[in-house]
């Protein structure tokens, strides 16, 4: 089975929901016209990244009754949509969330678990952390979503792999650091790990990263799709806005996993046993 996914590399206006929503709807239309089945927006695509005190004012509930979210749900009747936004939780906390929308319905929400709060990042100050990694079924296979720092922790995609994810969709607002080589240092790092995951987990890995500047920070784009062999299927341009498409051949999963049965031979029971032992030993120390 084949389907077409598209990556929307956007540069959101910081804190301007109305503007960003309009841009989302236009890109969804454009991707649908190009026969894409799914469009993946970057982290916090509806709001911009470094929100600081804007975090609470741009947060929305992921329900059809919300004026902004409702429009996105409607738009998902044409193609599936992954959108990044600030989600208002049930008790007034804010999450950095990714929602998977399909046929006018909310299929799944992932709340960012790892909130970087060091160096240039200050997410924990403004956001509540999610507490789960769950794969979920879509009409194009079983999916796991992660948001930026989530996938810098190897345990996150591992958990999704064990939960059945054959397609990993990563969304980022990754600021560039490091200018000694031909590619921005943080870009090279992210490309390495997304490619490594695709090969090590023998899954498809799509990474959608934003572009543009926020104050001094630059977001480098360079969104990618890797197949289960670690082969690159799509590389969006660095730095510029773009909408790029890739055809995903889900049969590649069977071919790769027959050649390289890492998933078949994986021993999560062993891992659980050892992790339990390590935890026990920590507690008794």
């Amino acid at each position: 089975m084949k389907f077409t996914l598209s990556l929307a590399q956007t540069a959101p206006k910081l804190g301007d929901l109305a503007h960003n929503l309009a841009e989302h709807l236009a890109l969804i239309r454009s991707a649908a016209e190009q026969k894409a089945d799914l469009i993946i927006f970057p982290e916090l695509s509806l709001t911009g990244y470094n929100l600081q005190d804007l975090a609470s004012t741009v947060s929305i509930k992921a329900v059809a009754e919300d004026a902004v979210f409702g429009k996105l749900l409607q738009a998902s009747s044409s193609i599936d949509v992954i959108v990044g936004f600030v989600e208002e939780g049930p008790r007034q906390q804010q999450y950095i969330s990714a929602a998977y929308l399909s046929k006018g319905q909310l299929v799944h929400i992932h709340r960012k678990v790892y909130l970087p709060t060091y160096g240039i990042f200050d997410e924990r100050r403004y956001f509540a952390a999610g507490d789960s990694f769950r794969a979920f079924d879509t009409r194009f296979g079983r999916v796991g979503m992660l948001i930026c720092e989530d996938f810098w922790h190897v345990s996150s995609p591992y958990a999704l792999w064990m939960d059945g994810a054959d397609l990993m969709y990563f969304i980022s607002a990754s600021p560039g650091r490091g200018v000694t080589d031909e590619v921005i240092g943080s870009a090279a790092w992210v490309e390495n790990i997304t490619r490594s995951y695709s090969g090590l987990f023998t899954t498809f890995v799509a990474h959608s990263n934003r572009v543009g500047f926020e104050d001094g920070l630059n977001f480098w784009g360079g969104s990618t799709v890797h197949d289960p062999d670690g082969k690159i299927l799509l590389k969006a341009p660095y730095d510029d806005k773009s909408l790029t498409l890739a055809t995903i051949d889900l049969n590649q999963l069977r071919r790769t996993r027959t050649r390289l049965p890492l998933l078949r031979d994986e021993r999560p029971d062993l891992l659980v046993k050892e992790l339990n032992r390590i935890q026990r030993e920590k507690e008794t120390k």
Binding site: Q52, D53, V179, T180, D181, E182, F213, D215, G216, N218
Partner: protein, 274 residues
């Protein structure tokens, strides 16, 4: 550790020109103003700005004082001619001397600060007249060492080269083919006759950049810097300069009284809404 400050000049050039374009146009502007001293820092910013905005949108202003060297003026003119940008020459002697002449015993430092601030006033006036934002031309080395005048040459709307060490400014300037006389001459604030930065600072940029790179970029402790072969007095002097001049790198503290205060718990990016 091997200390290598070199950067990929294509990558940096591309990043900085996009930064200038983005930060200027998102606020509804399309033009920039900068002071051209004849030195390498402002020359580099002029080159970047022209690439980002187009020559006709970059106003370069020469602001000599009566003691400024002819070389400085000539080198600034060389850049203006090379880039074919609109330019103005606005001498600051009269405005600076209006204050300086009132104090016959005024120190060199006070005079230098007055000159730097007269230039700031001139640039911000041209900013309004030309409808362009003021580009900063201070580099990371002088910012860390505090080798600048607060609200003077340090004043700007955006600064494209504030995260480049002086040696990196040189590397990028060579790559952009900025004329050799400007790249190769000894850096000088040109606030008085014969002044050079390195003489005044007591060390070369080459030396201090290597040390600053370890302290700031690589988070080396003073002891670790000494173990890397740097002289203890040099390490201590530079460390103290960084600390003592930090006030120049941040907004002034506001006495906290209310429940929300700019800078502490009323926090928004400058790019808010753009």
């Amino acid at each position: 550790m091997e200390i290598d400050l070199s950067v990929n000049t294509d990558l940096v050039n591309n990043l900085l020109t996009r930064f200038i374009r983005s930060e200027i146009t998102r606020t509804g502007y399309s033009k920039a103003v900068l002071g051209l001293s004849g030195g390498i820092d402002s020359a580099l910013v002029a080159y970047l700005a022209v690439e980002a905005l187009g020559a006709e949108n970059v106003l370069c202003v020469r602001m000599p004082y009566k003691t400024s060297s002819q070389d400085s003026l000539d080198h600034a003119q060389l850049i203006i001619d090379e880039l074919n940008v609109p330019s103005l020459t606005i001498p600051i002697t009269e405005m600076a001397d209006g204050l300086i002449d009132k104090y016959p015993d005024m120190s060199k430092m006070r005079k230098g600060n007055i000159m730097a601030r007269c230039r700031m006033i001139t640039l911000y006036d041209q900013s309004e007249a030309f409808k362009g934002l003021v580009l900063g031309t201070g580099n990371k080395t002088e910012s860390l060492l505090g080798y600048s005048t607060i609200f003077g040459d340090a004043a700007c709307a955006i600064n494209p080269i504030g995260d480049l060490f002086k040696t990196q400014v040189r590397q990028l300037s060579r790559a952009l083919k900025i004329p050799a006389p400007i790249v190769d001459k000894p850096p000088s604030a040109d606030l008085w006759l014969g002044q050079t930065d390195e003489q005044e600072l007591g060390f070369t940029y080459e030396e201090v950049d290597r040390l600053l790179y370890l302290i700031v970029d690589q988070r080396y402790s003073p002891l670790e810097c000494i173990e890397e072969g740097f002289d203890k007095l040099f390490v201590d002097t530079v460390g103290e300069r960084i600390r003592r001049n930090h006030y120049k790198r941040i907004m002034p503290p506001i006495a906290k009284i209310s429940s929300r205060t700019a800078g502490s718990d009323f926090l928004y990016l400058r790019d808010w809404g753009t």
